[in-house]
Symmetry: C2
Subunit: 372 residues, 2 copies
């Protein structure tokens, strides 16, 4: 009999070896062919500020040094940008990394967490990974349901309740007032995780005023989307000082890439580039909407850098459309859960990539219809 | 009474808000003055391969894309480099990040882990962070004690036993045969963590042959030291496939910086630069030894990119020497535990930085002696 040396914890032993998202590179290797249009990961093909690129090139020369474990310069700049104190800000390895830390701080075996059915799977991955139990609330007309989320959190005694505003994967959003009412209604003993990864794309009046010392909510922001730095892995949390301080108990203090720190700092300072990006993303979003409509499909209103396109039938049909797009080298994704999975999710991108999507969609629909 | 919303787990609540190492930038901000010589973090001032810099500049243009969550290209290259299978390799956010994952997989509340008293504090930080209990074994003549480590692991039923070879902070090392005997002696139910962060600097015959499917040991390697990419955060673990697969259960799949992935890949391919680095580090090590000896101090033999310099008295004296070096803008560190804390730890660096160390040391010793 083989002897065992690595004894996993019962929890680790029980977990599946999984991945919340299969990367496009994995698909490309399986297909033996690269994608021609990369419109599936809600990345920002308009790219980061040229100032961020310069700053990263400069920082690369110093990459023999560890990055500042306090992320001091970036936190100071974020504090000034938002008009809050740096003590209310925790910088980390993307929102994914920060969600992992947050869940680790709050969720132990059997603790309950509430989210929407079909919302961000990486959050669920972290909850499961720390032994938490997930209670889900259905979407309401393709929107996350703030009232039901908070009510359920109260009923089950949740430690965390998660909402993304704007939402991923549907692109829908709630006005600031609705979110503020959600914050007001959070039950004692429960923390609201307000994931604002896409908030820069949203109309004015989507983000509630920052009240960083509000103990009821922690907000997540990122440089991966509007700032075009997904590959750099820089996110930040805004929350009450006591909570932010708690991250220091468990975080990987030297975990931040020095080049990424510099890139994010420079990107933040180039708000002109951000505004240009928002314009470009807006135009690309309208183009996706128009392509969808030209093909008789219904694009959902979006406050993000992607559009959920209702393919007009069930999940099997949308999956067939997606598959036929992928076969034509157009990388897109789709929601995991019914009924949202009647949609495909198309990220905004450069004109040439949307041209490929426009060309591929009619054939994809034809193939999907013929295989029904 | 204030209401509580964020309810930390009992474990998280019990942990201190800490940092295993205070960064030099933090010290610089406190001093109000930058360091002139950065010789404290065992970084590699000779820098990475120019090929790595080019690859990172190239990758920066694509930083709007997430990095490949499988780290496929880097794992394939590492597999070819080591003559092992990619399934035996896990790439992660530095050894610090990988140690965190490993501890999370194996160590739950009350599980016991064995390490040397005064060895790598970040490992201990992770163990404490997951509720583990740390048993320590003293150094033996400034070397970690492989026999005592394994014996203690057996006595206490440890899940992990940690050794760094070469050792940090002392720079001492064991020959491959000694490590191999340690592997053979690891008790059932215990995994040996062999931290080889500095192994590229060590003489031939320091690293045991790679037997990657050996279930008794997991080895940690990094691009932070010999490859000069500390700020990029790229490390890798080599271990049995079953253990490596288990990392997929909990790791931050999209956690790697895309620029760092490219930098590490290119650095690995430039073994000529690595050889030049090893020559430079060797020369700098001899220079530190010579500076120490000229000041009547005893440099410990080192197989790393730093030298532990025995200041010839107790920890208080060494701390005074260190403090006086820091006051002269020379950043160095020292061991945390007695009796190793009779030493200061000086990283190799460029000639101009060692010049500053050489100039500052006599005065530092004078100040330390006069304050006794």
């Amino acid at each position: 009999m083989t002897k065992t040396y690595a004894r996993l914890t019962p929890l680790a032993d029980s977990l599946p070896a999984t991945v919340p998202f299969v990367g496009p590179e994995t698909q490309e290797r399986a297909r033996g062919r690269p994608f021609a249009a990369r419109l599936g990961a809600n990345e920002n093909g308009f790219g980061p500020s040229p100032m961020a690129l310069s700053a990263m090139a400069e920082a690369a020369r110093d990459v023999w040094m560890y990055g500042d474990p306090e992320n001091f310069d970036l936190r100071m700049a974020l504090a000034a940008h938002h008009g809050i104190a740096p003590e209310n800000i925790m910088v980390g390895e993307g929102i994914d990394g920060l969600l992992g830390y947050l869940v680790r701080l709050l969720v132990g075996s059997g603790d309950v967490v509430v989210t929407s059915k079909g919302a961000y799977p990486t959050f669920n991955y972290h909850v499961a990974g720390f032994g938490g139990r997930i209670e889900t609330v259905p979407y309401n007309a393709d929107h996350e349901d703030p009232v039901a989320l908070v009510e359920t959190a109260r009923e089950v005694g949740a430690k965390l309740v998660y909402i993304a505003n704007p939402d991923n994967p549907m692109g829908t959003w709630h006005a600031a007032g609705t979110v503020q009412r959600m914050i007001e209604a959070v039950p004692e003993g429960c923390l609201l995780v307000l994931d604002e990864a896409y908030v820069e794309f949203a109309p004015e009046g989507t983000a509630p005023d920052l009240a960083p010392d509000d103990p009821r909510v922690v907000r997540m922001r990122t440089f991966s989307k509007a700032y075009g730095l997904a590959g750099a892995r820089v996110g930040y949390a805004i929350g009450a000082r006591e909570l932010i301080t708690a991250f220091h108990k468990i975080r990987n203090h030297f975990g931040m890439c020095r080049i990424s720190q510099a890139g994010a700092l420079a990107a933040l300072h180039d708000q002109d580039h951000l505004r240009q990006t928002l314009d470009r993303v807006g135009a690309a979003r309208r183009r996706i909407e128009s392509i969808a409509q030209q093909n008789g499909l219904h694009p959902l209103p979006s406050a993000t850098n992607f559009v959920a396109v209702d393919c007009g039938a069930d999940g099997d049909f949308a999956r067939a459309v997606l598959q036929a797009l992928v076969q034509q080298d157009v990388f897109v994704r789709m929601p995991f859960s019914t009924p949202q999975d009647r949609c495909i999710r198309v990220s905004t991108g450069r004109a040439e990539e949307l041209d490929l999507f426009a060309a591929a969609l009619p054939r994809a629909l034809e193939r999907a219809r013929s295989s029904r």
